[in-house]
Symmetry: C2
Subunit: 155 residues, 2 copies
DNA sequence: GGTGAAAGGTCATTAAG
DNA sequence: CTTAATGACCTTTCACC
């Protein structure tokens, strides 16, 4: 149920230089090309590697403002219809159901603070949303990363 | 400072089928191969496309628990040394400085609820961290996504 | 291991802003 | 006039059988 060092090194290598192919990986890691292929297939089959899609920076698209919005929802209605409506808003990048005082936590982006108000209004207008509470991310000193985790898991 | 429809379609295409190459993209979009390459280079140069690295699912590595930890830090010490220490913890996937009652928001993962306690203890032990407040993500009905945003930006 | 197929680069031409 | 797109050619490299 875990990965070994070779898997971890393979993932790290691909993360640092995604453009290289299987053959180049095998050379860098001093293993046979078939081994690399088999490892990648196995990692993909186990769901460890979800995909290789292009990673987009919302800030480069003009969405400079990131905020975390905690929602309280009307319990009777259930959370599914709320999620469906939230998913229709492009600026909502992810939604979690959470423990604690709130019921859901959304990561949202916007083009400015004024634009954030518009996005939050969209969220508040969702049927079943009772209240929202937002915090704005001023800076992101540690951007999302998984490599250290991969390295730790491969130990 | 934005992208056009061709950029958006190109990104969407690559996101849906990352394994296809530049030539295949040009065929699907009915444009010349050089155009696709130029667009991709431009998107990468502008920072819109950060990379093509493998996307890792922490849950598949055994890290089933995700939590958001809000930190209050001792203001006199500044946040930089705190960030440096937090970055050393593999389970800390991202760190933001935020507005509101807290000072920082961290996304962390752990192997179990008991393991989460261990990770939180690591965070509390960081010099300058005064208090933490955690919420656990029970479910993630909308996983992190940027495609709708790209589509909206390309309009 | 061999082979067909792309990637990546450059170029001249053409179109459009 | 500047920027972008196109189709062509070439060489290296890889993926697949």
């Amino acid at each position: 149920m875990t990965i070994d060092q070779l898997d971890a090194r393979l993932i790290s290598l691909l993360a640092q230089e995604p453009r290289i192919g299987v053959l180049e990986c095998s050379r860098r890691l001093n293993v046979a090309r078939g081994t690399v292929q088999a490892r990648l297939d196995r990692l993909a089959a186990r769901g460890v590697i979800v995909g290789y899609g292009p990673q987009i920076d919302p800030a480069a698209l003009g969405y400079d403002v990131t905020a975390f919005v905690t929602l309280q929802i009307r319990q009777v209605s259930g959370h599914v219809p709320v999620v469906d409506r939230l998913a229709l808003v492009p600026e909502v990048l992810e939604v979690h159901t959470i423990t604690g005082g709130g019921d859901m936590l959304c990561r949202v982006v916007a083009r400015s603070n004024a634009d954030l108000q518009r996005v939050i209004d969209l969220i508040v207008d969702v049927e079943g949303v009772v209240r929202t509470s937002s915090v704005i991310a001023l800076d992101t000193p540690v951007p999302y990363r998984t490599l250290p985790l991969v390295a730790a898991a491969g130990t």
